[in-house]
Amino acid sequence: MRRRELREGAQGLLMVLPPVAVIAVFIGFPVVAAIAYTLGRAGGPNSVVASLGQRQFIVQHGVTLDAYRDVLGNKTIHRDLWATVWVTVLATLVVVVVSWAIALYLRLADTRLARIVSGLSVVPLFIPVVIASYAMLVFYSSDGFMRSVAYHLGWHSFPTLGFTLWCVFLAEVWVNIPFGVLMMSSGLNGVPNNLIEAARDSGASMPRVVRSILLPMNVIPTVIVATFTAIYVLGSFTVPYLTGPTAPNLLGPSMSNFFSAFNQPQQAEVLAIVVFVLALGIGAVYVWANVRTGKRSAVAP
């Protein structure tokens, strides 16, 4: 019996080994090398990039945090970091609220109109982000559709949103809504009808049903939408690059500037690690939520 267990364990390990090895070689190793580079180690796999870069902080022995000091002491980066955090928080909140609302509408009012609305909300999924960003820019530019309509309605001072962080925020929401709606509506559809009907029969109002039944049973999809949207916005490049202001902008375009235009790969990698740490924090929330529900469902099946 014992031997069989051992053999099965070994087999399982062998089967999982190829993907783990691929990840270790193609992702793990470069990440370790990049972290070493940000800490001032320029030998081995970093020698090529270090021979080309400018404004590097290199040590022969031990490590140095000078590159981090250089980046985090940079006022432009401060502004970019705050812009990134604000746009991420706002966009995530709005995506969660809007996709909840659309999904709920579809769940409760299964009419033709509801189906059209939910169908339309998924359309952005099929439009490339570059096209969407450019469309957004044209739509909100100073001679764009929104301003023209507002002008004809008598509002002559409608703000020009193109090339502002507001435009970035709107475009991020637009891009992320479909995923939100799909996740939320599949979550809400998983709530059995008889639960809702039972609550209605015992006299619960619709808001009460939403609060006490739909909301608690849809926590995981909500957390998934929130965390994935936040991580996506945090690392986005195309949307802020095309629609955002010159400065401050999100860290995605900043990183690419440092890497290619300024030829400062070490600083770019420090920024990447900053974004990684932020994303790690968000990812932790996701894991925590999953573990919690996993435990709960294990206790009360």
């Binding site: 940079n74 006022k75 202001p245 235009a261 300024f262 400062q264």
Partner: protein, 378 residues
């Protein structure tokens, strides 16, 4: 050995030498009749491909029946890195790399690393017409064959008399708030050129020369005055925004949102041709100082075969006929002086090429400049 014998031997030796000479000259004429093939490697967009494949190579082969040009094209330069390694390895072993002439961004790397034939060894008479200043950044080891410069585009409907100097342009920008912008220097060469030109106008000529040829971080304090001036323009620039990329500025210009902007000569001439820019948009160059420009280079690897034929080809590329084709197909800039070009071309560039291409900073200096702009201007 007596004299008689000696005489006979001398006669015999002479006969042998003469015979062998005759034989080699016969062989030489035979080889001339045979066709040689030279290999050209080019990378870039489809306009580069069509320039070589449909215009220059057929034109050359028609004139030189015994030379064939084999054309290797790498779209968007995807094979540039491997080609660079291949040529580098072959030249170091003194073997033929399989390529005799290169037209790609990697030429400047080849030239500065000493892997290409210096221009002084070229047997192409037309090379002497090329602007000698363009040879400095490539250590005299590559041949500029076309150029593009940054020029000032203006909408003649709204701007009947464009500014003619940098000072006049700055005054115009302040007098017409919101009608000018340039793309952020890190996102494209045209906006970069405007920013560098403003900064250069405050820098002494000898310092500028150093920055154009090498990397001197300690000279960067000279940028302060110019960057401050650029910062003060924020309130006059279109929405206070510096769009990303050369094309974004052309787009604003085409839609009439802005009236004046620095643009690439070839890109804007193509846009005028395709209608992306309305015909009312005209191009001009400013003075004191002019905008910067750059050249595309041809390189001959040191271990290339048939160098005589290769330089015949280079000579043809630099001839007025081929240069005219380059201008028509690529909207490029001629690499030889305008006075050698046909009258129609001279008129076309009357406004634009008043100055030759003004060189920019060396690569690393450029990177630092972009970083400082990003931190101090917007």
């Amino acid at each position: 050995m007596n004299r008689k014998h000696l005489g006979a031997i001398i006669v015999l030796a002479l006969a042998v030498v003469l015979a062998s000479l005759a034989a080699t000259s016969k062989a030489a004429t035979k080889r001339q009749a045979k066709t040689d093939t030279i290999v050209l490697y080019a990378s870039g967009d489809v306009n580069v491909q069509s320039l070589w494949q449909q215009y220059i190579i057929p034109g050359f082969e028609k004139k030189n029946k015994n030379i064939k040009v084999k054309f290797i094209f790498s779209e968007h330069g995807v094979q540039d890195t491997t080609t660079l390694a291949r040529i580098g390895a072959a030249v170091k072993q003194r073997k033929w790399p399989g390529i005799d002439l290169v037209d790609a961004g990697l030429v400047t790397t080849l030239a500065t690393d000493g892997l290409t034939q210096p221009v002084t060894k070229a047997t192409a008479p037309n090379i002497k017409n090329v602007d000698q200043k363009l040879l400095t950044p490539v250590k005299g080891a590559a041949i500029p064959y076309r150029g593009s410069s940054v020029v000032l585009a203006y909408d003649s409907k709204n701007v009947p008399t464009p500014p003619k100097s940098l000072g006049a342009l700055l005054a115009w920008i302040k007098a017409h708030p919101g009608k000018f912008t340039y793309n952020s220097p890190n996102s494209g060469g045209s906006g970069y050129s405007f920013a560098e030109t403003v900064v250069d106008s405050f820098i002494p000529a000898n310092v500028l020369k150093q920055m154009q040829t090498g990397y001197f971080p300690n000279l960067e304090s000279n940028w302060k005055q110019g960057l401050d001036l650029l910062h003060s323009l924020n309130q006059y620039v279109y929405q206070g925004v510096y769009p990303n990329g050369n094309a974004a500025v052309l787009d604003l210009l085409g839609k009439g949102q802005i009236w004046v902007a620095p643009v690439w000569s070839d890109q804007s001439l193509t846009a005028l041709k395709t209608g992306q820019l309305p015909p009312s948009v005209h191009l001009t160059q400013i003075a004191n100082p002019s905008f910067t420009g750059g050249a595309a280079y041809l390189g001959v690897p040191k271990s290339a075969k048939h160098k005589v034929d290769v330089y015949k080809f280079v000579d043809y590329v630099l001839s007025p006929a081929a240069q005219t084709q380059i201008i028509n197909v690529m909207s490029g800039f001629p690499a030889i002086p305008l006075k050698l070009m046909p009258k129609a071309i001279q008129n076309k560039f009357a406004d634009v090429s008043a100055n030759s291409l003004r060189p920019t900073y060396a690569q690393k200096q450029q990177s630092d400049f972009k970083a400082q702009w990003q931190q101090t201007v917007p």
